[in-house]
Amino acid sequence: MTGIDLVSVDQDFAWRPWAVAYFLVIGAAVAAALAAQALRVLRGAAAARPALRVAAVLALSAPLPLLADLHQPARFLNFYLGAAPSSVMWWGAWLLPAFVATTLLATLADATGRWAGAGRVLRLGMVGSGLGVLTYTAGETAIVAARPLWHNAGFPVVLTLTALASGAGAVLIAGVPDRAGARLLRMALAGSAGAGLVALGLWLLADPDMARLALADMPVVVLGHVAALGLALPALLALFGRGALSARFAGVAAVWGALAFRWALFTGAQAQSRVETATYTPPALADPATLQSLTGTAGMIALAAVLVAVLDLYLAPALRRGPQAGPRADKA
């Protein structure tokens, strides 16, 4: 025995469940955008359309949980009133709106079928800013030396791979009519989930200190859950499953795996006191803060889906008709 803390204090988590929701949604959004671009190159614009719509819905939803996790959300403009290049989060504050804007405008260009030249530039911007978002989200956590569970080579790799799997999974849930495109997405999901499983194993099992640290605040059942249900199952379903239903199951499992991994690592890392004088109580799944973040994010995704559907069904056709629409065009 080294010591017993006779007097210590309770502390709150600095990053609440909203942060878990943000990291899930933005990671899936970027992965869906990358999938859309890959499908466009390999299979054409029509095959890429569902992935681009999913990227738009998720990109539109991501800022809400991020703002909600700020304890002073009304001050978000302070990010843009000065330069803080030493802060990864400051870079993220610029990359996120760039990604959201280029994704939404690329979706608009695709839906209307106009602005072909600008559409190319927008898609390039979407891919570039998306890769930047993936880099900043992984780097933002990995550089925090005071959090050993984040500050290592394994965590950002698994974070990124689960993001890619969840993005491919989200597109499969939405449905991909193009069969060859769907097969490519299943391969991408299987590859990223399988690589994530290997990386998770190497990260935790190759380093006894890391395994001890992880198991200190994350029960084996949680890590086993992430590995089995969140990574292995979707990889196997994507590889060996047949039909749209198994593809959707694989997608749901991949999204669930990414959520479980973020939940485990964000709560596990923050629950570890760095000086052993504070007690951090992780939020339970039924806590109001957790339910608020889940329902809030799900509600925002639903609202974004409605907005993108309105764009597709009403706004885009009107814009597509352009100057030919209206009484004068009818007379001609």
């Binding site: 025995m1 080294t2 010591g3 017993i4 803390d5 006779l6 007097v7 210590s8 204090v9 309770d10 502390q11 709150d12 600095a14 990053w15 996790d69 700020l70 304890h71 002073q72 959300p73 001050r75 978000f76 302070n78 990010f79 009133l81 000065g82 803080a84 030493s86 802060s87 990864v88 989060m89 400051w90 993220g92 504050a93 933002e140 550089i143 925090v144 030396a145 005071a146 959090r147 923050q270 006191s273 760095r274 000086v275 052993e276 004088t277 504070a278 007690t279 109580t281």
Partner: protein, 248 residues
């Protein structure tokens, strides 16, 4: 316009241009010989009895939200050749020479003054909690009232008024000694010269400016700990609501 940062860093007194500003300042931060101090604190653990008077004085002076602490004194029980003994370890912001909380701040709300005090501009802070994650000493928390990062300021408002930090002034055993390490005649400089002092977590590379006399090896870095008060508290369930309810 006088910003909060100007006020906190004492620039008001230096740049105000008013008659009041030109009068001799009582501030400890403006030494008569004109040199820039570097503030530090020495904790003489031989004198600390864990009475928490510093914890209370800090909370009262700085209006710290109930249940949060800018400083407190964890008490450990450690094994010695004479049996288990209590060990007090006052903790607070270390006002590091290389503070990891500053570069991560995305809005430049947290900064270090010329005399080494790490402060938070609470008018700018967005409450992202990144600095809370980055501090290896858990010296920061998010204030429930303001929604911004909060931490020890070495009672900068008291220094500007010519007073010592509240925790130092109230320490019944004289265990907390505060002063300017650039002044060889100061009490902290003499203690540092006369004693073998240690910092917390030297491996973090932060160069803390809170020094300890009599710090047990086992408390310097990661403390291997068994469940004590923590287990009792967790068994007892959640803490009661500490928010104040005003009578209607």
């Amino acid at each position: 316009m006088t910003t909060r940062r100007d006020f906190l860093t004492g620039a008001v007194a230096q740049n105000g241009g008013t008659e009041a500003a030109q009068a001799p300042s009582p501030s400890l931060r403006l030494p008569a010989d004109g040199h820039t101090p570097r503030w530090a604190m020495v904790m003489d653990l031989r004198k600390c009895i864990g009475c928490q008077a510093c914890t209370v004085a800090c909370a009262m002076e700085n209006n710290v939200y109930e249940g949060s602490y800018r400083t407190h004194v964890p008490v450990y029980e450690i094994e010695t050749e004479f049996g288990p003994v209590p060990a007090m370890l006052p903790r607070m912001c270390n006002h590091c020479e290389n503070p990891p909380c500053i570069p991560v701040c995305p809005v430049n709300a947290t900064f270090q003054t010329e005399d080494g005090i790490v402060l938070v501009d609470q008018d700018v802070c967005v409450g992202c909690g990144y600095c809370v994650q980055a501090c290896p000493y858990e010296a920061r928390h998010l204030d429930h009232d303001s929604g911004t990062a909060d931490k020890c300021t070495f009672c900068v408002q008291r220094l500007d008024a010519g007073l010592l930090p509240a925790c130092v002034e109230t320490c019944v055993g004289g265990a907390r000694v505060f002063g300017d390490i650039r002044d060889p005649a100061s009490a902290v400089s003499r203690l540092l010269a006369e004693h073998d002092t240690r910092n917390l977590k030297p491996e973090a590379g932060t160069r803390p400016q809170v020094y300890y006399i009599g710090l047990d090896d086992r408390l310097v870095s990661e403390v291997e700990i068994e469940a004590g008060a923590r287990a009792l508290r967790q068994a007892a369930g959640p803490a009661p609501d500490t928010t104040h309810h005003e009578e209607a």
